[in-house]
């Protein structure tokens, strides 16, 4: 690029007041309609969660985790709980394991449906925004029936879960899933055969799996390249029930560019994720046994933990989330808790992914990676 062109460059802030930029701001350098430099900025949403955790008891800690990403609250709290369970040596009862897994997958569906709406709005198609958001309400109803809260439900606790399934709550959940299944063909048609979706997303923001892993991308963003990287199947977590289910990791294999993914692939991938989650819940619901929902020793054991280190991980909706926890002997709160939010890396990768593309495609690339500011600002 000759220096004369850069003389005409314009610096443009995308956010923090832009409607699509809910808690982030990116400085773009434009030449004409093309982006030559992208500088993502973080920190607009910072609530110092890691420092806060050092002053909260182990039971309170999961509530802070939940608020990092309200859309996947059931999943976000799990890495912390898992780390506490490992250090305290708690055994999660079978009933709690399965219930936990069911609610996590239900939460994943609702989170992906929210993403659908948001992404369509970013593409400028507002009809498609409202459809999944209507269906999502059924899942929120199920959460409300079970826990009394629609978003941050505080469902998990060290050693199990807090609220037991009732006949009615299972019924509401089943209704939500049945409704979701009835809507699937409509969405599939909309995604795969809608020309406006295709034009806006095909060939945009393309990377291969090796590059994606170097940037630290995970979850659907990597699975869209055809690599079945999924903690649910790769790592056998004894406190979850994924090993009881017969299912395959959803991956999307693109015919045009194998081993790579563009915005269209990632969009289809997120549709496949919903299908897989529905499959898991359908298989797990009849398996819920009778029994306690929390380890009877949890109350005594999770009050003060022995000294130790643990690393809890979960395959979240947006990628791999984890918590590294260190405790000192008989302390009531962690010595250090580090949170890995999957979106820190997806937001960072814009720096490499965006330059060279048109300004109008910027929000498409951003939306297709599904970043959520709470995860990177923490």
């Amino acid at each position: 690029m000759s220096p004369d062109i850069l003389d005409e460059a314009v610096e443009l802030w995308f956010g923090p007041q832009h409607v699509s930029a809910h808690g982030w701001a990116t400085k773009l350098t434009l030449v004409g309609d093309y982006i030559v430099e992208c500088d993502p900025n973080a920190g607009y949403f910072h609530r110092s969660a890691e420092k806060c955790l050092e002053f909260r008891t182990f039971k309170q800690g999961s509530l802070i985790l939940e608020r990092l990403c309200m859309l996947e609250a059931f999943l976000a709290e799990y890495p912390y709980l898992s780390a506490v369970e490992q250090i305290a040596g708690l055994e999660v009862p079978e009933r709690a394991k399965i219930m936990r897994t069911i609610m996590m997958e239900a939460c994943r569906i609702h989170s992906l449906q929210f993403w659908w709406g948001q992404f369509s709005a970013e593409l400028g198609m507002f009809t498609m925004t409202l459809w999944p958001w209507i269906d999502r309400e059924y899942f929120l109803d199920a959460f409300e029936e079970l826990t009394g809260s629609r978003h941050a439900a505080a469902y998990g606790t060290p050693g199990g879960v807090k609220y037991d399934f009732t006949e009615k709550s299972v019924k509401v959940l089943e209704h939500a899933i049945a409704h979701m299944e009835s809507q699937m063909p409509k969405f599939k048609d909309m995604i795969l055969h809608n020309p406006s979706f295709k034009v806006r997303t095909k060939g945009i923001g393309q990377y291969d799996v090796k590059q994606g892993l170097k940037w630290g991308l995970s979850g659907p963003n990597i699975r869209a390249c055809g690599t079945p990287m999924d903690l649910r199947q790769d790592v056998n977590d004894p406190n979850l029930a994924y090993d009881m289910v017969d299912w395959e990791v959803p991956t999307f294999h693109s015919e045009d560019h194998p081993g790579e993914s563009d915005a269209f692939d990632r969009m289809v991938q997120r549709f496949l994720e919903i299908e897989a989650s529905v499959k898991i819940i359908r298989q797990l619901l009849p398996l819920v046994p009778d029994g306690p929902i929390v380890d009877p020793k949890a109350r005594a054991k999770s009050n003060r933990l022995p000294a130790g280190e643990a690393y809890g991980r979960i395959e979240g909706t947006r990628g791999l989330a984890s918590v590294w926890l260190k405790t000192t002997d008989k302390a009531q709160s962690p010595y250090r808790a580090k949170i890995r939010g999957p979106c820190l890396n997806s937001y960072y990768s814009l720096k490499h992914l965006v330059p060279g593309s048109k300004f109008a495609d910027f929000i498409v690339i951003f939306g297709s990676l599904d970043p959520y500011p709470g995860w990177w600002d923490r």
Partner: protein, 169 residues
């Protein structure tokens, strides 16, 4: 190559590396600060599809710090944890953000939260903290978060509590 085989290779190659935990699922190695780039290069060559998870700081008090690196290899399914021990008021370690670009922001965050300098890092501006924050390195243990720092924050002082039984006036 399994996790234990990889860890043995590192320990045999670099005498200064001290193994803390060696199992097939998890490997934990203490690595001198001067060797971290070599070891990370080695893991990148041995596992082309390795996934970098975390770089984090840890304050062990009395000017001792640990930087912890976590990698995950999906093919052989093992977690690889490296620890680098640092001492002194201004700890320094080499950056690995040119080998794994995704770790650039993890290092940037560790730098602003713990005051650990990453030599060779392209961009060590503040990431999450506001520019006007007074007092440094919030995640160090000596950083106070009680009322004594309230005047720096610019927040109004809390009103003194009324005496018991309510105000007489």
């Amino acid at each position: 190559m399994s996790g234990t085989a990889f860890a043995r290779m590192i320990v045999n190659k670099y005498q200064e590396v001290e193994p803390k935990l060696l199992t097939d699922e998890k490997v934990d190695l203490v690595i001198p600060a001067s060797l971290i780039r070599d070891v990370v290069h080695l893991i990148e060559e041995s596992y082309p599809l390795i996934f970098p998870e975390i770089i984090m700081g840890l304050d062990l008090e009395d000017d001792k710090y640990e930087v912890i690196y976590i990698f995950w290899s999906r093919e052989t399914n093992f977690l690889c944890q490296f620890r680098v021990l640092l001492e002194g008021a201004t700890p320094v370690v080499d950056t690995i953000s040119d080998i794994f670009p995704g770790m650039e922001w993890h290092e940037r965050e560790t730098c602003e939260m713990f005051g650990i300098d990453f030599k060779g890092h392209p961009d060590l501006r503040l990431l999450l903290l506001p520019d006007e924050l007074e007092g440094k390195y919030p995640l160090r243990k000596r950083f106070k978060t009680d009322r004594s720092r309230l005047s720096e924050s610019g927040l109004p002082q809390p009103k003194p509590r009324p005496p018991r039984g309510g105000d007489s006036q």
